[in-house]
């Protein structure tokens, strides 16, 4: 199989093979892209249009009012802001705590280093759903339900991110670090002025990973926010679907608005995403 794939360009007899590849790729592409297409098309359909059967596959008349209606159904603007605050805080905090810890693990001597490192790795093996009940009870007891604190506090550190950055930091030449220290550089100054600028790709990868993970969270925000004004966009959109099933066009408009940032990232920043998301797959 790989044979004719790899040689499709070089071999002129591969014309039929090439047509076949295009055909398969095109069919699969249509199937995969269809839900996105229908979301956008549906967001411009009139209620009559989207509720017709057999369903219409394109809007017979443009109905952009859906984009207004959705703001009346849920506090979409506020929820957007909540998502940005929640994801932004988590991303920045994870970058900070992971950079500090990774520096400690990569460069400093300390007693019981293996134990501490093992502890960080162990956090990766604990599924969040297995400890979600005690976390919820803790937040409830502290009176933090319906606050930003509840949304972000448990996610201000990351075992995976620390591991990732430690691996990246270890590639930094020890000689250079020694030289910097002989020149009177302290830990924090070395970290901020030398290491972080040089490790921007690794930090960016972790940043993308952390942001997407936080932006897409569902279970935890659902538990700790009941007030629509405090909910993230993900919760808001899913409530939309159960609140008003007759107004599917507005639901679709809400979805389009919610995926806009990530859609832009996928189309224009693919390379960036690849680095962020395959960070775990490629050692």
């Amino acid at each position: 199989m790989m044979g004719w794939l790899r040689s499709a360009r070089a071999d002129p007899a591969g014309a039929i093979g090439r047509v076949l590849i295009y055909l398969i790729l095109a069919i699969v592409a249509i199937v995969i892209v269809f839900p996105l297409y229908y979301t956008i098309a549906g967001s411009f359909m009139t209620p009559g249009d989207i509720n017709s059967f057999p369903p219409s596959l394109y809007p017979h008349e443009l109905h952009p009012q859906n984009y207004q209606t959705v703001f009346d159904l849920i506090p979409l603007g506020q929820q957007y802001l909540n998502s940005i605050i929640q994801s932004g805080t988590i991303t920045i905090a994870e970058l900070l705590t992971a950079t500090l810890a990774a520096y400690g693990f990569a460069f400093l001597r300390m007693p019981w280093k293996r134990f501490w490192f093992g502890l960080f790795l162990a956090t990766m093996m604990v599924p969040w759903e297995a400890i979600i009940i005690p976390n919820y009870l803790m937040m409830a007891d502290a009176g933090l339900i319906n606050t930003y604190f509840a949304l972000v506090l448990p996610f201000l550190a990351t075992g995976f991110g620390t591991f990732l950055l430690r691996q990246a930091f270890l590639t930094f030449p020890q000689d250079l670090r020694d030289a910097a220290f002989i020149d009177g550089c302290g830990h924090l100054r070395f970290l901020v002025q030398v290491l972080v600028p040089l490790q921007r790709p690794a930090l960016a990868a972790l940043g993308v990973f952390a942001f997407l993970g936080a932006w897409n969270q569902y279970f935890w925000p659902l538990l700790v926010t009941q007030n629509p004004q405090m909910q993230t966009i993900q919760i808001g959109i899913s409530q939309l679907q159960s609140v008003d099933t007759n107004d599917l066009g507005s639901v679709m408009a809400g979805v389009v608005l919610a995926i806009l940032p990530t859609l832009v990232l996928v189309i224009f920043g693919q390379r960036f995403i690849v680095r962020g998301l395959t960070a775990g797959a490629l050692k």
Partner: protein, 312 residues
């Protein structure tokens, strides 16, 4: 080098001050770990202990999980009528999402290695589902699966079929959720596999072809072995992810119809939080089971990674 050294730093030579310096470095290092450690202690390790503790407690009259009941929750869980179904549903869901998901992604990744025009366009197209989150994708699929006006039944109608009750037929609902999940995951699986394929040097194929190998033989002897780390990573990650799936099930079926989509995580949610039923003890017993299952899988992962999978 020592020529431009400043002040006292390099002049510590006596063993006493060296020991003191190393102790100070140990303290400094600990300070660097401290912010993360505090978060882990409060939000991972303490709750972990609490999960075990809750699982041996039951609610008192005012609904606080304070009554010690020993292993009663575990006994109720293991002998109860639902638990076996829940486990069956959980593992079935894992299999029908992981196997087709990675299979399709592998096929597409191989097709995308073809050197033809417009590959970048297809790459972007296949990555588009990635823009969706669990919640947004589930909402869209709930519209597509709608049995009255949904597009999927629209297609079936055109083909002369009466259509399916995608989300309300107990025999189909789990498969419908799996379809939505596989679609959402595909972009990621593809990214990982494409990155792996891109890293295989062309010379290997050329050398093998000179030796007379071609077609399936190339795929079996070069591509698959060299892709093994990525494939293995994906299998483990997707399995764990499918075990943890909550959003799609919550939005599409709420565990129904007749519990046919109630997986372990959904069961934890419904016992602890849904409909005002706050049986934290029983739900925590299930949470402990989830923890053990994931631990076993990750342990196997590390075991196999060490031994078998070929890393460059």
């Amino acid at each position: 080098m020592t020529g431009n050294a400043t002040s006292a730093a390099p002049s510590r030579v006596s063993t006493v001050s060296a020991a003191r310096a190393s102790r100070r470095e140990g303290m400094t290092a600990f300070l660097f770990l401290l912010p993360s450690l505090v978060v882990f202690l409060v939000f991972v390790f303490y709750p972990l202990v609490q999960s075990f503790s809750l699982s041996v407690h039951s609610n008192d009259i005012i609904g606080r999980p304070t009554l010690f009941v020993g292993l009663e929750n575990y006994v109720a869980m293991l002998t109860g009528p639902d638990f076996r179904l829940v486990l069956w549903t959980t593992f079935s869901f894992a299999i029908i999402t992981v196997v087709p998901g990675i299979g399709i992604a592998l096929g597409l990744a191989l097709l995308l290695t073809a050197r033809i025009r417009g590959i970048r366009f297809f790459r972007t197209a296949f990555a588009l589902p990635f823009a969706f989150s669990v919640a947004t994708s589930a909402v869209v699929f709930s519209v597509l699966f709608n049995s009255a006006v949904g597009v999927l039944n629209g297609f079936l109608y055109q083909l002369g079929s009466a259509g399916l009750n995608w989300l309300t037929d107990p025999g189909i609902a789990l498969i419908s959720i799996a379809i939505a999940t596989v679609w959402l995951q595909l972009g990621y699986d593809l990214l990982v596999l494409a990155a792996g394929l891109g890293a295989i040097p062309d010379e290997l194929y050329e050398a093998a072809r000179l030796d007379g190998a071609s077609g399936w033989r190339l795929a079996r002897s070069i591509t698959l072995p060299l892709l093994a780390p990525q494939l293995f990573f994906l299998i483990v990650v997707s399995t764990i992810q499918s075990l943890q799936n909550f959003g799609q099930i919550y939005i599409l079926t709420r565990g129904g119809p007749s519990n046919s989509t109630t997986t372990l995580v959904y069961s934890i949610y419904s016992k602890a939080f849904a409909f005002g039923s706050s049986d934290f003890g029983f739900a925590s017993a299930e949470a402990v089971v989830l923890l053990l299952i994931v631990l076993v899988i990750t342990t196997i992962q590390f075991g196999i990674l060490e031994r078998r999978v070929f890393y460059r």
